[in-house]
C-alpha cells in the first residue's frame, strides 16, 4: 500500500520531529510535525515529485494550525504543523515550492502568520490601508479551559496539587512542629517528575497551554 510506505518514509526521514499521524485512509495520509522540521519534511516529500495544493490555516484558539496539502500521484499528503499565537512565525517554503507563494501570503494576511524569508511579502487579498495588526480571520487568544480555572490548572500541571505551599505557611507549620511541607508530589524531585510526566501523557499540559520552559501557562 503506497500510502503506508509514503507515511513511513516521511516519519523515518523526519525522525522525532514527526509528532503523530492520523489513521491512513485510501489516498490520504496526514502527519503532524514540529514547525522546526517543516522544511525538512517538504524536502523529503519533494523526492516523490508532489504537486502543491494549498495551505489551510485554522485558528485553534491558542495557536494557528497550518495544514500543508500536497498531491503525490493521487495521494493527498497533509503536513500539519502549529505556530503559537505569541510568536506566529514559521519558515517559508517558497524557495522549495514556488507555488506556495500566494498560499503563504494568504495565511499571513488573514491569520497574521509571519513566514520568515518569504521572497515577496505584501498584500494579496486585503485592501490597501487595512491595518496589518488586525488579520481578519485571526481570533483572540482563547484557551480550551475557562480563564477562572487557569490558576488551578497551572498549579496542577507544575506541582500536582491545586494550590501552592506558601513560604509563610511553611514557617507556620514548622513553628507548630510539622515538617515545612508534607511528603506530597511537590516535595521530592522524583515525585514531581512523575506527576509532570502524567500531565504530559494525559495531554492536559497541552490543553491547559502550559509552557514547560517558562514553567507557567501561556499568556496572550
Amino acid at each position: 500500500m503506497r500510502e503506508v510506505e509514503l507515511l513511513e518514509h516521511l516519519q523515518k526521514s523526519i525522525g522525532s520531529g514527526a509528532v503523530s499521524s492520523a489513521p491512513v485512509q485510501k489516498r490520504k495520509i496526514s502527519l503532524t510535525i514540529e514547525p522546526a522540521v517543516l522544511r525538512k519534511a517538504v524536502e523529503v516529500l519533494l523526492k516523490h515529485q508532489p504537486r502543491f495544493v494549498i495551505i489551510a490555516a485554522v485558528d485553534a484558539g491558542m495557536d494557528v494550525d497550518l495544514l500543508y496539502h500536497f498531491d503525490v500521484k493521487g495521494v493527498v499528503v497533509v503536513l500539519k504543523t502549529t505556530v503559537v499565537k505569541e510568536a506566529s512565525e514559521i519558515n517559508t517554503i517558497v524557495d522549495l515550492v514556488p507555488a506556495a507563494e500566494w498560499a503563504e501570503k494568504e495565511a499571513a494576511e488573514l491569520f497574521g502568520v509571519n513566514f520568515r524569508a518569504h521572497p515577496k511579502p505584501g498584500r494579496l487579498l486585503l485592501p490597501e490601508g487595512w491595518p496589518s495588526d488586525r488579520p481578519p480571520l485571526r481570533g483572540p487568544f482563547k484557551r480550551a479551559l475557562p480563564e477562572q480555572f487557569c490558576p488551578v490548572a497551572e498549579s496542577l500541571v507544575s506541582t500536582g496539587v491545586t494550590g501552592p505551599m506558601s513560604p509563610l505557611m511553611q514557617r507556620r507549620r514548622e513553628e507548630k512542629g510539622l515538617p515545612p511541607s508534607p511528603p506530597a508530589s511537590f516535595s521530592s524531585d522524583a515525585s514531581l517528575r512523575e506527576v509532570q510526566e502524567l500531565m504530559r501523557r494525559t495531554g492536559f499540559d497541552e490543553k491547559a497551554g502550559y509552557d514547560w520552559e517558562k514553567k507557567r501557562l501561556r499568556h496572550k
Partner: protein, 279 residues
C-alpha cells in the same frame, strides 16, 4: 488543601489518631486527589489518572486510604468505581500509569475519617475518652460529597455518623432547614457574589437564628468557604463571626488535647475563643 491552608486539621488528626490508638502512615509522593468538581470538569482523563496514581501509591504500601476531606473522598471513591466498571477508562488509565512504572489492581478501599471514627473506633469508645465535654450548641454541616455512597447504599449513613460523633462529645446538635445546602465553594470559581449570597449567607443567617456556638464540618474546603466567606461577605454588608472547624479538631479538643498544640490560631474564624469556651 489541609497542609497548605489549615494545617491545624493535620495536627488534630495526628493527635486524635494517637489518642485513640489508630496507626496511620503518610502516603509519600501523593498528589492532589484531585478535586471532584473543577479538575474533573477541566479534564476527566487527567483527573482519573492522577487519582489512580494516588490509589496505586496506597496499594503499593498495602494500605487502605483514610481521607480527611469530602472532595478527596468523592474523587478517590468515584475513581475506584470507574476503574472497576469501565473497561475502556481502566485500559486508558492503566496505560498512563504503566508509562510511569506504576499499576493499580483496584484493591484499595477509600475511607472518610468520619467512617473510621464511627465504625473502626466506635462512638462508645470516643464517649469514654472525652475529657472535656462540649457544652455547646453545634450546627453540623456534612457537605455535599459526604452523601456520596458507592453501590446504591444509604446516602445518610456518613452524615448520621458525623452527627453521632459530634453528639459523643456532649454537644447539642441543632438542625436547620438548610443543612444540606452546599457551602458554595465550587461556585466561587465562577460567580463569587452568587456563591456567597445564595449559599453561604442563608446558612449563616439560619445558624445565627438558632444561636449555635460553632459549625462543625468534615471537609476542609467547606471550612475555608465558611471562614473566608464570612470575611468576603462584609463587603456586601453582612457581618458574621461564627467559628467553623473540622470534626477531627472538635474531637481533639473534646479528647483533651491542649488547644495550644492544635494551631487553632491558623483559623480565620474565632476557633480559639471556642476552645476557651470548652474550658
Amino acid at each position: 488543601m489541609i497542609p497548605q491552608r489549615i494545617p491545624s486539621v493535620e495536627l488534630a488528626t495526628r493527635g486524635v489518631l494517637e489518642c485513640i490508638g489508630v496507626d496511620a502512615a503518610e502516603l509519600p509522593g501523593y498528589a492532589c486527589c484531585p478535586d471532584p468538581v473543577v479538575a474533573r470538569l477541566m479534564d476527566r482523563k487527567m483527573w482519573l489518572a492522577l487519582s489512580a496514581r494516588n490509589l496505586a501509591l496506597a496499594e503499593g504500601m498495602g494500605l487502605d486510604l483514610l481521607v480527611l476531606c469530602n472532595g478527596c473522598y468523592e474523587t478517590l471513591t468515584e475513581a475506584n468505581e470507574i476503574l472497576r466498571r469501565e473497561p475502556e477508562a481502566r485500559k486508558e488509565t492503566s496505560d498512563i500509569l504503566a508509562g510511569l512504572g506504576r499499576a493499580y489492581e483496584g484493591t484499595v478501599e477509600v475511607k472518610h475519617v468520619v467512617e473510621v471514627m464511627h465504625e473502626e473506633v466506635g462512638v462508645g469508645k470516643i464517649e469514654k475518652l472525652v475529657k472535656r465535654p462540649a457544652k455547646l450548641r453545634l450546627a453540623v454541616h456534612p457537605g455535599c460529597h459526604l452523601f456520596r455512597e458507592a453501590g446504591g447504599g444509604d446516602i445518610w449513613r456518613k452524615p448520621k455518623q458525623l452527627e453521632e460523633l459530634a453528639l459523643a462529645t456532649g454537644a447539642e446538635v441543632v438542625h436547620c432547614k438548610l443543612d444540606r445546602l452546599c457551602c458554595g465553594f465550587p461556585m466561587m470559581q465562577v460567580n463569587e457574589e452568587l456563591a456567597l449570597k445564595r449559599n453561604l449567607l442563608p446558612k449563616l443567617a439560619c445558624y445565627q437564628e438558632l444561636a449555635v456556638d460553632a459549625v462543625v464540618a468534615p471537609c476542609p474546603t467547606c471550612i475555608v468557604q465558611f471562614e473566608a466567606g464570612q470575611m468576603l461577605l462584609r463587603k456586601y454588608g453582612a457581618r458574621y463571626n461564627l467559628p467553623c472547624l473540622h470534626i477531627v479538631e472538635f474531637l481533639a479538643l473534646a479528647l483533651g488535647i491542649p488547644a495550644a498544640e492544635l494551631g487553632l490560631e491558623l483559623h480565620r474564624s474565632p476557633v480559639e475563643q471556642l476552645a476557651r469556651k470548652m474550658g
